[in-house]
Amino acid sequence: MNFKLLGALGLAVVLAACSDESNKGASTGAGATAQETGAAPGSEADLVANVGDRVFYDLARNTLSSDAQATLDKQAAWLARYPQVSVQIAGNCDDRGTEEYNIALGQRRANAARDYLVAKGVAPSRISTISFGKDRPTADGDDEQAWAQNRNAITSVK
């Protein structure tokens, strides 16, 4: 966990987020090919390499672009192929919002991705959701490009 409570001496504070957990599997996304990569079928590595583990959102939005829908279509097909697999969808935001608002916005994004997968026939019981708000950026830096990467919903094998 990135956060620890500090003792209170008049002010209680929380340690700032560090981004050492960022960058794992960055920039896979919708461009992944269906080629075999040696990853175990039905594994997290398989999902990342051959399906695409994340979808991206426009600023302050939770609508699914055609690219996002294409990635989720592939995730739904992959989940149909590996019915024993359960996943978590984590919604994330760029840092141009408040801490608390972005927790809800990230959850809104995770739920949008989940609802799409469920509409494509994935059992709701196989999908859990969570939001990390703006605290788990996958791309370092504060420019439009990094923010676009950080507005996402990331699917991972549980």
């Binding site: 209170a8 002010l11 504070v13 801490e99 608002y101 927790i103 504060d142």
Partner: protein, 235 residues
């Protein structure tokens, strides 16, 4: 995250990602006992105590939004006071306990709203450029401190509870999470800088500023810090 002091008891409320299940907890500083507050299917977050310390107002995600609830700490009873379907969060009681200011995107963008503590009659009070968030009521009752976002930059300001007299006190890449000192004259807040490649140049710290907009100062902490909460006066 987001620790908040109970105004009358040695207790804080906060949100934790323990067990991959983000929820609000209370923690008794004397006994060290901790408990999850209420049962929610979604994420519970953004807790703040009522002025008498007997209740916590918080929000919980549902569908595409989040609702605001008041939980009685004695009985555990949970009362839902918003159900807009939008994101309603960052609720904060007025010092007399009769009203709640909160953040909502029910009108499209995140703005500040005021409602009665029982939940009725929400009306928007923020009308400047951009979006608003993290409203907090001054202990004196005369001001709401808030975060405003416009043009990709944050500013921190105050306005009257009816939305009039808005003044920006300071601004920056990120300035948020205002919290008043007990006499209402100084606000502590979090200031963060932008990060470059590899996270270079990022810093997160606590500062204070007078409600006049003068005397801004950093508060030194051993590590980076965010989410300040100013304690009540000790008896």
């Amino acid at each position: 995250m987001t620790p908040r002091f109970n105004p009358v008891r040695d207790q804080i409320a906060f949100m934790s990602y323990a067990n991959n299940r983000p929820r609000v907890y209370t923690f008794d500083l004397g006994s060290g006992s901790q408990r999850m507050l209420g049962e929610f299917n979604g994420i519970s977050f953004a807790p703040r105590f009522s002025p008498n310390g007997g209740q916590v107002v918080l929000s919980a995600t549902r569908g595409g939004g989040s609702d605001i609830f008041v939980i009685d700490l004695g009985s555990g009873a949970k009362r839902q006071i918003t159900s807009s379907g939008a994101i309603d969060t960052s609720p904060c009681f007025s010092p007399d306990g009769s009203q709640i200011v909160f953040n909502s995107d029910r009108g499209g963008s995140p703005q500040l709203y005021m409602m009665s503590a029982s939940g009725g009659g929400a009306r928007r009070i923020s009308f400047g450029n951009g979006s608003y968030g993290s409203p907090v009521w001054s202990p004196r009752g005369d001001l709401i401190a808030f975060t405003r976002l416009a043009g990709g930059r944050f500013s921190l300001g105050v306005m009257g509870p009816d939305g009039t007299g808005e003044r920006i006190l300071t601004e920056g890449f990120t300035v948020e999470s205002p919290t008043f000192c007990p006499n209402g004259r100084v606000i502590a807040f979090c200031r963060q800088s932008a990060s470059g490649a590899g996270g270079a140049g990022f810093s997160s710290g606590i500062g204070t500023i007078d409600i006049t907009g003068f005397h801004e100062r950093p508060i030194r902490t051993e590590t980076g810090a965010s989410d300040p909460a100013w304690s009540p006066l000790q008896g």
